[in-house]
Amino acid sequence: MTDLAPLPAGSGCRDVPVLKQRGQREVFCGLTGIIWLHRKMQDAFFLVVGSRTCAHLLQAAAGVMIFAEPRFGTAILEEKDLAGLADANVELDREVARLLSRRPDIRQLFLVGSCPSEVIKLDLARAAERLSAAHAPHVRVLNYSGSGIETTFTQGEDACLAAMVPVLPATDARQLLVVGALPDVVEDQMLGLLADLGVGTVRVLPARRSSALPAVGPNTVVVLAQPFLGDTLAALERRGARHLPAPFPFGEEGTTQWLAAVAREFGVPSQTFDAVTAAPRARARKAVAAATETLRGRSVFFFPDSQLEIPLARFLTRECGMTAVEVGTPYLHTAIVGPDLGLLAPGPVISEGQDVDLQLDRARAARPDLTVCGLGLANPLEAEGLTTKWAIELVFTPVHFYEQAGDLAGLFARPLRRKAVLKAGVPA
């Protein structure tokens, strides 16, 4: 099977030294993942046990997307809850009972810990056990922490999925488990490709409904669809599953390499592989080429945000002709992004963690053509004459696999095209 989409030689950025700085981190906390997870899991409710700040964060991250009744909320701790822990548990039980009686459609409830609940050591694991027993079998109650003292942005999804692993049923069947929340339309495309390759049983985590939870066991092969799922992967490995490392399915090459890793594992003949992938590969290349006209020869600088940075830098440099100046990531999990790092040509600074002021100094000095950063930094950098792409859009938009490759490239090209189109000039 070695002739399936061979990888280029060389170790890329695998062994380059990583710049680690410690200062202010300008990133979201893990609570933010609730914004997409609650849309993905249609019978789940996310109850944050936190402060007014946590509620305000969710509101700011959700922006104007005010759903009729979103499946998340914050139980805001008040002074009287801080006084005695027993009270906080009683109050929590009451709020949960009220919520579940109002929302009979809820089958999974996640108690989501925050910084305040962690600091006062509110035991949400015990609360989840207690509430699970009280509301079984209709509702299963799980807990995880999305707190900012433990999790950064997308790590909230990791913590959530990791919390689900222990309750997954066991199986000895040989199967592929794809892990990471994808938009439904993308997930369907992926399942279609895997079915056409003849991979056999394919399950996904998270499932759209709690009744469709995948099983796991020693003959389960795990492939990640998102790079930020280290804890989930470790939990699955503890259940006997085996990790299949692969570049992430961004762009034509990334998708092909990802599928090839699966195909090798499941013994897919190369003719089948070519037959299934040829047409979508061509489409993806064509779509990416349109954006590449704008991107080729331009430089890009990533501020740390979602852990998607390394795979995206690989995509932009190898498929769109950009050069990377710095690729910052909140957390560098080499066991997971190793294949992408290996494909990334040496040159860029790879940085982990953040001192935002020092990093801004570097960006200002480098004056990249495109800066990928968070919402708090984008307009200020634009005002300094840089062109920016909001990183959060990369998490909220369908960008994986062949049919989205062009959209993904387009997301990066649009700010540059827009700058070229606008003639009014910003007054100083």
Partner: protein, 517 residues
């Protein structure tokens, strides 16, 4: 513990950020975990600010908790000073740091920084954003403002405008023009645009204009007590309030001036015959107390609407709000739960809602026209054009704001006459709104839309227990959407009053005659 989805106010440290971000030359060191940096985007995205808020977050992590979070705070403080060289600093804790009790104020004091360092105590678990802004501004003024000689010319300070405020940028400009046109000087505007040095010379003013009681009243009171500066009690929103405000300022100055009302258009726009149709339109007003109270008066006395609901989310101002509501024959709605507000709006079935971004969404769900008149607001409520709500130009802006969401006068008649016309049917909404029209459809909890105009086969049981017979329900559908809610409510009230349990077409028209005005 209280379950919340959307909130009117953020935590108190966000109020402090609104003050710091409005100012220049001030830096805020906030002991907080990394996720709290989301607050930056409120300013850079919603308000489109072109620089980062002047805030350094310590972003301590779990592994720091057992170790040295205090040391982290100290080094963040030192780095922030070295990098930004502010004229003064404010320091404080967010909700999480409040629990670990590092005492940022005490720590900063021992560092011997060469600028004033002002500690903030903002209780995160009992207070909210407006309190945080008001308290922060008070502490800054207390620390920096000193008694000094008054300016030779009579002058005032403008108090309360902050970052992220509803139209604060333009209100400041409008009031400055207005006050200067009276021959009175503006000494300092604060916090908006002020430096700590400016704060230090606030004592040179003869009096203070309190623009926004929510964020400036504590400072106004302190300045009165300490520097003997009286302050204005009228917030100049609307024609009558602006005139009263001018009277108040002139009285403080002890002088007279010719007031130029040549740019004031609201009174004629309201009096002109095209506006007749606005008479008695039922409006529900909710927001921060200052804007809600002012808009209730404008709606009733200057546009000719009927106010059918009034309230605010900031309990600090419950008392004056209750007094005003009583004057309107209403019970004030004081709540920070948007679902309570939604329920009250649904029950009152108004023809127009004046509210915050929360009510905008409620309005969308209920299919009722809405105008935003108070914080919290979203990006579309920071207009590029000049659009104050204070002063005479503010009154003009309010006329447009309150009338724009409604169906125009003549159009209203046409809709009534040709209610079954396929493209003129009432669900099409006001013709000048394009795709943004309020819709006469309800969303169910799955998010799917279903038209309310389906003919019911079964009698419909109303919320008050009376039954609508199918023919009456159909007749009701023929009434244009913008008055349908009122018709339904009046008919049900009439039926209940008459002891009628099943509403027929007859009942509907009897009720119509009964409520005719």
């Amino acid at each position: 513990m209280k379950l919340t989805v959307w909130t009117y106010e953020g935590p108190p440290h966000v109020g402090a950020m609104r003050v710091a971000t409005a100012m220049r030359g001030l830096h805020y060191v906030l002991h907080a975990p990394q996720g709290d940096t989301y607050a930056d985007l409120l300013f850079t995205m919603i308000e489109r600010r072109d620089r980062r808020p002047p805030v350094t977050y310590t972003t301590f992590q779990a592994r720091d908790l057992g170790a040295d979070t205090a040391g982290l705070f100290r080094s963040a403080c030192r780095d922030a000073f070295d990098r930004f060289r502010p004229e003064a600093m404010i320091v404080g804790a967010s909700c999480t740091a409040e629990l670990i009790q590092d005492d940022p104020g005490g720590l900063a004091e021992t560092m011997g920084l060469p600028v004033p360092v002002i500690p903030l105590e903002l209780p995160s678990y009992s207070r909210k954003e407006n309190f945080g802004a008001d308290e922060t501004f008070l502490q800054i003024v207390r620390a920096l403002a000193k008694p000094m000689d008054r300016t030779p010319q009579f002058s005032v300070n403008l108090l309360g405008p902050t970052a992220l405020g509803f139209r604060h940028r333009d209100d400041v400009e409008e009031l400055r023009r207005l006050i200067e046109s009276l021959g009175i000087a503006v000494n300092v505007v604060a916090p908006f645009g002020a430096t700590p040095t400016d704060i230090a010379r606030m004592g040179a003013a003869h009096a203070n204009v309190l623009m926004y009681p929510e964020t400036g009243e504590s400072a106004a009171r302190w300045l009165e007590k300490t520097l003997s500066q009286p302050w204005t009690k009228t917030v100049p929103i609307g024609v009558a309030a602006t005139r009263a405000f001018i009277g108040e300022v002139l009285a403080l100055a002890g002088r007279d001036a010719l007031v130029d009302e040549s740019r004031l258009r609201l009174p004629w726009w309201s009096a002109s015959v095209d506006s007749t149709y606005l008479t008695g339109k039922r409006v529900f007003v909710f927001g921060d107390a200052t804007h809600a109270m002012a808009l209730a008066r404008v709606a009733r006395d200057e546009i000719g609407f009927e106010v059918v609901g009034l309230g605010c989310y900031n309990r600090e101002f419950a008392r004056p709000m209750r007094v005003l509501a009583k004057e309107f024959g209403l019970e004030a709605l004081i709540t920070d739960d948007y679902l309570d507000v939604e329920a009250a709006i649904a029950a009152a079935a108004p023809e127009l809602i004046l509210g915050t971004q929360m009510e905008r969404h409620t309005a969308k769900r209920l299919g009722i026209p809405c105008a935003v008149i108070s914080a919290p607001v979203h990006v579309q409520d920071f207009p590029a054009r000049y659009s104050p709500v204070m002063g005479f130009e503010g009154a003009n802006v309010l006329f447009d704001t309150l009338v724009h969401p409604l169906v125009m006068g003549l159009e209203e008649h046409l809709l009534t006459m040709f209610r079954d016309d396929f493209e003129f049917h009432d669900a099409a909404g006001p013709s000048h709104h394009g795709g943004h029209a309020p819709r006469a459809v309800a969303e169910d909890s799955t998010g799917a839309s279903k038209p309310t105009a389906e003919a019911p086969a079964e009698p419909v049981v109303s919320t008050v227990g009376v039954v609508w017979l199918p023919a009456a329900e159909n007749e009701l559908k023929k009434i244009p959407f913008f008055v349908r809610g009122k018709a339904r409510r009046n008919t049900e009230a009439y039926a209940a009053q008459k002891g009628v349990t099943a509403i027929s077409v007859e009942t509907l028209y009897e009720a119509k005659a009964h409520y005719a005005r």
